[in-house]
Subunit: 337 residues, 2 copies
DNA sequence: GCTTCCAGTGGGAGCGCTCCCAGAATCTTC
DNA sequence: GAAGATTCTGGGAGCGCTCCCACTGGAAGC
């Protein structure tokens, strides 16, 4: 048998009976509500302790119409995008903020059609009090579903198209611009970008930042080389770049993984970094520090992103109307540029 | 206001009324239960579709005493241990398996006292159908709490002390032994280990594997240098090791992060890898591939670990009594040894 | 003394679902 | 064609909690 002693959990009624009060009084006592004499309050607390009483989450949720759960949905074609350490940081931030509000975190990796259907059900079934949505692709069906639901939804990163009502995003355009400007300020003139998928909000924003900076400096942007934010795609894109544009002397990679990939491709092609080609990444994840040479990169406050999303969601759940947030980025100069 | 149109969700009663049947029939129809005429079944389905009916998770949970939620608890002193990409892989695996069983994943990062208290409440409150627990430290209070609860608990990795009834673990002893044997087989004689914390099950198991292999080869194990599974701790431990035992010609690091740290320390000390010192890591995470030189390492099937844990928990929730599992590891030879 | 007030109390009606069960309708089977 | 088996049906009692509300009794105010 699975359980040896299926010790039945005690109920509020039992606590009330043991304390010699009504269920109402017991409920009030345990919820620190007013209108309970201190004698009875104490009796209830004692009884609850003796019985090891823990209120039933589900019953409470049904009565209050509050589940105490916030969902974080990470949507993508492929569950492996979740392996990006970026998400772990988001989760650490969100988890901390939710803990403060006494909410639990439900994590939905919506890769398959089935996963997405389940998120749809979640949205309709009241299984959570609200949702933080990180959907990358512009054609992600969840973006539309989020618009339909009555449940509060906070976006992590703006999708392409009209900005959602509530979101937290990093200043991707500004960060990418700063990275590119930095390359230019170091005398680089043939600066290329290994950008992220251009059907994602981030990918497009970071490409725009690159483009803006190039144009502002009177330089011709090179056509974007698209990767999918993985290291190997960065290697491939950079290798292709070097074939078509051997004169390149600077690369802005739209994230650190691809930056690390670029370093690999450059090394394979016999280029020195930063001698021949300077490289800047984006994110400031561990990989940037341990890359060889360490990667100059644009730091975005990832934990803060998660934290702010969670706080925004909490505000929404409490009936407030918070304003969207764009978090600043910051250039971290290391050896690669 | 947070919600413009708080479109009230429709209930089963409304569906039943629209379909012209009783609530019981509607319930049976929507749950594909028998004893519903096909005419009424169809009417109910039509009505549900028209109303956009989605069953209320909470109410169902209260009635069935099943929440449809499985919790993954990651316990540690410090939320940043969660940043280890190891956990992301576990989650990907677990999430997939839970999806098959139509369960949702609740993620609890229990670092603070408050976090642990909340896990305790979860365990007692019926907020989940079961728990997957990854607790590293031997004195972790959650290990004890897990023994108290009536809720099914599957351990990820065996804690120190008596093995829990249900767990999934990697063959840490065997993997560490193989790694060490490999170093010895390559002619290394002064092999040291940068081990993980010895108050953790993994740390101790991997140290034991190292020790067993050394003794079996008639070599004297060096005293363990303890790290905390982070790269910087690997660097520090290795640096100290080189001071006390400059003659070292092989290092088995208890995970890849510390292996990468060891590489850094060795480079800083002017040793070549694998020329002067050969290094082997454990886990086979990305960092092992991108390290310089790429790290020879013991691969453990991390996604499978998560998947098996989830499947085991599902079995428990369904009243079965699965048997504990130890997953095999495999040496991946790269340039560092 | 009489109202007025209010802290304190417990009864009871939900929240939206499942599931048991009694009874009606239909189908067997000799 | 009666007796029994079988399929359907809907009423109603929960699941364990919150919260509204009607009520008590003692203090306060005149």
């Amino acid at each position: 048998m699975a359980k040896d002693v299926a010790r039945r959990r005690s109920t509020l009624d039992e606590v009330a009976e043991l304390a010699g009060v009504s269920r109402s009084v017991a409920s009030r006592a345990l919820n620190n509500a007013p209108y309970v004499s201190s004698a009875k309050r104490e009796a209830v607390e004692r009884a609850a302790r003796r019985l090891g009483y823990v209120p039933d989450t589900t019953a409470r949720a049904l009565a209050t119409r509050r589940t105490g759960v916030a969902a974080l949905v990470v949507s993508g074609e492929d569950p492996s995008i979740f392996a990006d350490p970026f998400f772990a940081q988001v989760i650490v931030g969100a988890s901390g903020a939710l803990e403060e509000a006494d909410l639990h975190l439900m994590l939905c990796l919506a890769a398959s059609g089935r996963g997405r259907r389940r998120v749809g059900e979640l949205l309709g079934s009241g299984g959570a009090d609200g949702v933080m949505l990180m959907a990358l692709r512009e054609d992600d069906p969840l973006i539309h579903m989020a618009g339909e639901t009555a449940m509060p939804v906070v976006f992590g990163g703006r999708p392409i198209g009209p900005a959602p009502r509530w979101y937290v995003d990093a200043d991707n355009v500004g960060g990418a611009r700063e990275a590119t400007e930095y390359l230019i300020s170091r005398g680089r003139r043939r600066v290329a970008t290994v950008c992220g998928r251009l059907d994602t909000g981030v990918g497009r924003a970071r490409y725009r930042g690159y483009r803006d900076a190039m144009l502002a400096a009177g330089l011709a942007p090179l056509p974007p080389r698209e990767g999918d934010f993985t290291e190997s795609s960065g290697t491939a894109a950079t290798a292709a770049l070097l074939t078509d544009h051997p004169e390149v002397d600077g690369v802005f990679a739209a994230n650190d993984n691809m930056g690390a990939g670029a370093l690999r491709a450059l090394r394979a092609a016999g280029r020195t970094v930063p001698g021949d080609v300077a490289v800047v990444g984006f994110d400031d994840l561990t990989v940037a520090r341990i890359a060889d040479p360490p990667l100059t990169t644009v730091q975005q406050p990832i934990q803060a992103l998660g934290r702010k999303m969670a706080r925004m969601l909490v505000a929404l759940v409490n009936g407030q109307d918070p304003t969207p947030l764009i978090l600043p980025t910051r250039l971290i100069v290391r050896a690669s540029a």
